[in-house]
Symmetry: C2
Subunit: 306 residues, 2 copies
């Protein structure tokens, strides 16, 4: 496992859009937030563009991403938005450049495909945290403060499960430790069978989702199970499942789906974590050691930066 | 490859619901249609039930399906509905019973998971054709006549691409032959990385879809590509992509998504086939030899029964 050096005053961060397009206002808010931390910011040439579902063509988005990963002056690569599109280009990411000069990579949602790829191909610890739509919340927000700590600090973070998060009801008591891996469930399911399929042996699996009906969440969890991804886990950290309700009154709620699949795994499961597409999210490292303690209600995660 | 004996006068067909629940009126219409063909019909104990997303619990649906597959009196097993749920039980299907006494299996959509499983585990040719919601169209419909021919006849069927089908615009000219495999794209993507992953080397891939936004179709095709499923195809037979439009004016239409992924494969692609969730569909065998001829505009498929 390799960690990038933590970001400090004057370090240059590249903002890229390897997936969907971003609102200009949100990009500006992100730039302002990062400059407020004392970072210098460079916008990818196509970071503010739009093409079909994406911020640019595959080649444009890839050029911005690889340009940032290859530039020795760039110390952090932050993704402005998830959305959709990373999987189309992820096999062409310059992993050799990442191995030679690891940088702090930040993002979530569709960026889960990049986290998985960087872990698989380079063993790089990355930061699961906000994109531009969440930096928009302002410097005082938990989301922005936690992101700053994750990319500039070298201490573990304790994420506390809260009753205000609906997935708090998903729980199997116990203590577990392992490598934290995962992210957005749809992207994990879409990574099954590909060159970046995750080996979750000994891992704590992080899961979050947005705008997927319960039957789809069920289907994705069934695919992970059938592909063997859930067999040798040490634990599951359940973040937010945002707007995953169903309008059909015959159908079970999302919490029942999660409980049905996660409680029989025989490992500790901690729901209620403020990680994902909810009102606030705490940034956590992926590819680093983490501990679940359901009695304390915490997920403690080692820093992804050194 | 094994074929079941074709159905004839007085043969017993079991109607099962291994996935979603069916409307009682549609079940009755299906029973009437099959009895009109001279078949005897037995409804699975849980065929008309409802439980969460499903027609019954996993054990109930599996009991009906395996009961039918194991009963020597039953010569055909027809699935009343797709919907969602087959993948939850498909690893527990009694494949030994199928190998020992192959029966005519009919269905599509979610039943794609059963087709893939029976092909993978037993080498059984199956019939991709209507469920109860399509038998509802009455005995004169193309759908019902074609289904009858597919399960009772021993001749190849020629399916003609028609301009009335929107996917007619998806085409790469040429002639190809190979084993016809596939079905519903969502189910194929959900089968990637599982024990029933299809080996499509030398195959003609059949694709259809319903109610999936273009970006999701794109994502699923990317997963198939990244998993190597599209590498050694002989051709692609494109059925209906029903209600797969997007409301976002920035996004490309479904036809652009299909063309982008299918035309670079270097094999013949024949769109416009009346197969899927559209107004009518022609039943075709899976696991049997098929030919695409784009000049003739036909997909010719060997019978799945002997």
């Amino acid at each position: 496992m390799i960690r990038a050096r933590r970001l400090g005053e004057g370090d240059l961060v590249a903002l890229v859009s390897p997936s969907g397009a971003s609102e200009p206002g949100r990009v500006a808010a992100t730039v302002a937030a990062l400059e407020g931390w004392g970072l210098r910011v460079r916008l990818g040439e196509h970071a503010g563009g739009r093409h079909a579902f994406f911020a640019g063509t595959d080649d444009e988005r890839l050029a911005d991403l690889n340009g940032a990963l290859r530039d020795p002056a760039v110390r952090g690569v932050f993704c402005l938005r998830g959305g959709y599109g990373l999987q189309r280009i992820v096999d062409r990411v310059d992993f050799a450049a990442v191995r030679a000069d690891p940088k702090v990579v930040l993002g979530f949602s569709d960026i889960t495909a990049l986290h998985a790829a960087l872990w698989h191909e380079a063993g790089l610890a990355t930061v699961h945290g906000p994109t531009a739509g969440q930096f928009d919340r302002g410097p005082a927000s938990l989301t922005v403060r936690a992101a700053r700590r994750a990319v500039t600090g070298g201490d573990p973070v304790a994420v506390t499960a809260t009753r205000a998060e609906p997935t708090y009801a998903v729980r199997v008591d116990g203590v577990a430790s392992g490598t934290l891996l995962g992210g957005n469930l749809s992207l994990l399911a879409s990574t099954v069978g590909t060159p970046h399929a995750l080996d979750l042996t000994g891992a704590i699996l992080l899961l979050e989702e947005v705008e997927e009906q319960p039957y789809r969440v069920d289907r994705m969890l069934v695919q992970l199970r059938r592909a063997g991804w859930l067999r040798d886990l040490r634990g599951v950290a359940v973040g937010q499942f945002t707007r995953c309700a169903d309008t059909n009154p015959h159908y079970p709620p999302i919490l029942d789906v999660l409980r049905e699949h996660l409680t029989p795994l025989g490992v500790p499961v901690l729901g209620g974590l403020p990680i994902g597409h909810g009102d606030e999210q705490v940034s956590v490292g992926l590819g680093v050691q983490a501990c679940i303690d359901t009695a304390a209600g915490t997920l403690v995660v080692d820093p992804a930066v050194r």
